[in-house]
Symmetry: C3
Amino acid sequence: MQRTELVKGELSFSRMIQGYWRLTDWQVTTQQLVQFIEQGLEMGITTTDHADVYGAFTEEGVFGKALKAAPHLREQIEVVTKCGILFPCDNQPRVHEKHYNTSTDYIIASAERSLKELCIDTIDVLLIHRPDPLMDADAVAEAFHRLQKDGKVRHFGVSNFTVPQFELLQSRLETPLVTNQLEISAVHSDYLFDGNLDFLQQQRIAPMAWSCLGGGDVFSADEFAPLRKVAERIGEHYNASLDQILLAFVLALPCQAMPLLGSGNIERIRRQVQALDIKLDRQHWFALLEAARGVEVP
Amino acid sequence: MQRTELVKGELSFSRMIQGYWRLTDWQVTTQQLVQFIEQGLEMGITTTDHADVYGAFTEEGVFGKALKAAPHLREQIEVVTKCGILFPCDNQPRVHEKHYNTSTDYIIASAERSLKELCIDTIDVLLIHRPDPLMDADAVAEAFHRLQKDGKVRHFGVSNFTVPQFELLQSRLETPLVTNQLEISAVHSDYLFDGNLDFLQQQRIAPMAWSCLGGGDVFSADEFAPLRKVAERIGEHYNASLDQILLAFVLALPCQAMPLLGSGNIERIRRQVQALDIKLDRQHWFALLEAARGVEVP
Amino acid sequence: MQRTELVKGELSFSRMIQGYWRLTDWQVTTQQLVQFIEQGLEMGITTTDHADVYGAFTEEGVFGKALKAAPHLREQIEVVTKCGILFPCDNQPRVHEKHYNTSTDYIIASAERSLKELCIDTIDVLLIHRPDPLMDADAVAEAFHRLQKDGKVRHFGVSNFTVPQFELLQSRLETPLVTNQLEISAVHSDYLFDGNLDFLQQQRIAPMAWSCLGGGDVFSADEFAPLRKVAERIGEHYNASLDQILLAFVLALPCQAMPLLGSGNIERIRRQVQALDIKLDRQHWFALLEAARGVEVP
């Protein structure tokens, strides 16, 4: 599998990344999860994406059991996790309102909790999950500095940040933010044109791409019927499925986006990884864009 | 009262700023105004905000009479005023269309008029009141240069400028713009997310915040009923009034916004200044944001 | 006629530029076109704007016949052309979907085709016609580098690029982009406020302005009746026609926009060139803006 270098000589990701945001819905045993991780590794998927908040603050714990049961896996994978979102749930008895927290103490406490839950010594990349209107960039920088100094986190990034938010945080840091995890898909194509991907290409920062399949809406929602129809026609040309075509659409972007695959079905993952072999013709790419937006490019 | 340093060793503002945009509606005598200024000073409010255009070009003159009657006040306060807006009114017989003027000659003439009206020798900070689509940044820079050289204005800033407008003007100046006076409030929360506050935090420039109470709409307009309800509930927690809670919301922002208080009622001012003692919990802050926007954060 | 220096000592444009996007509709003989170019030159219009795609990929060929018939014209004019848009038409039998192409090979091939069609040895300025979501800025830079090295193109620019797209491409180039051809008019005034003109003024890059008359809509569309009415009233003041007033509106902008004139009627061109003599009063400019937007400035 293609790999993307995020920090020269220090950090690279597999082009396709396994997302675990629905892990707790998969209803798998620890042994089944170990096998799933190993089957992913056989395909070259080494990068795994987590967040404290997934599964109402239980996803990291489930994944951690697999790493504990099969400790040899740790050195074969990259662990990306996130912090900053809080919402009322059983695991957060003191939370009564969905909110963000990017204070120094909270970031450090959350990262330390993630280390414990994941049963690892170091997080490869910690992301701020959502831009927080109350973010004091100096406070975040202080947390990052301490976590890095203590060997608890190797690198830092962000998720869903706009360009000014990215530049603000970067301006306070000693080391470069290594990625911005963004919603990138044919389904929500406005995100292709808001300047964020241009900025990342300029900075030579590869984004992680979430919701490449539009959160599944594309498979059923009426509004995406035109996109489905065109994608299926183009799929016949490449002998490819709808999800493969939509992933190829994201892979064709010059920002070198790294798609997150969210399925727990290894055969579906295997099929989606094959999207890497599809080089969408420009005319097909623009036909998909037109179908998604309902209008030709100007 | 907290103070904010705008230019190291040269210029600082009180965290709360007295706005005089409705001074001419207050119906106060010069002696009453002197007393009002003194009562503000006792609370630590040293910074005063004016504009040529307030009171249809009469506000500065009213304030100037107080400074003339009580000359000891001048050295205890910072005088911020603005120029650039023109509209038809008795004091502008040659104006037949609301417009902006940021030409070299006009800025200088307006600043000189402000000096006369305010009965002072130097304006502490002169702001361009509105971004002018016809602004030639070199022409503004020339005006600023001459006014500074002649000792008529100490520092310059802007008001209601977007980031590209700010960067354009700054690129032509020898000295930093010291502030951008912006509409910042829970009531019009879109302004929290358009990148401007991120940019100012990055530049470590504290904005002046106008209309923190939404121009008063929040107290009565139906559309803000949900915000009122939540603010009142939270107000009970802090034993605080609606206006205090809304000011605390703005004060919590990491850009260190400096709220303008527009009331001429010294007891209301006294109550609003107490908002500085409220440290809004993050959950309360996000509850206000949700009530204002009608949706949770994502 | 005023001239605008785009590259110091190397490249300047006439302030008014002859656009040829409808040349193939003019139904003129080569000899008539030669005469038209010469009449424009007598007025000082030296800069000519083309694109591979105009006239469904036939416009450059028609213009090239004039240059071939009257070779003395070449050294008196600047030739600007564009590439990157493709759509299904007789001249593009392999194109089945409107799309953009900014690959290295395509840009070079298109520029070489333009040279042949235009019967010239060097393109003065080659523009990327539309921002391409698939633009790999390094690939464009490689094409520009080769075309410049081979003497096929002297300078490069863009058209319809946003600020982040402009900055992305510029970041990869050895020489400055010399212009951004943008839609600028009273009719579509949103473009005056999106930051692009502020950025260009900051960079001291003069945009070429297309559709200054709103593509003709302003002369008839109901939605522009208020603008027509105000423009006609103001026109009486300057003894100027509607098109002259609308051009004067664009010429008044501090970014030094260079309007494209699209007519093939030399008398209309002569009239429009006279807009250069109109110095719109600020109040008139803002009255036009208000009529176009339906609201006063704030």
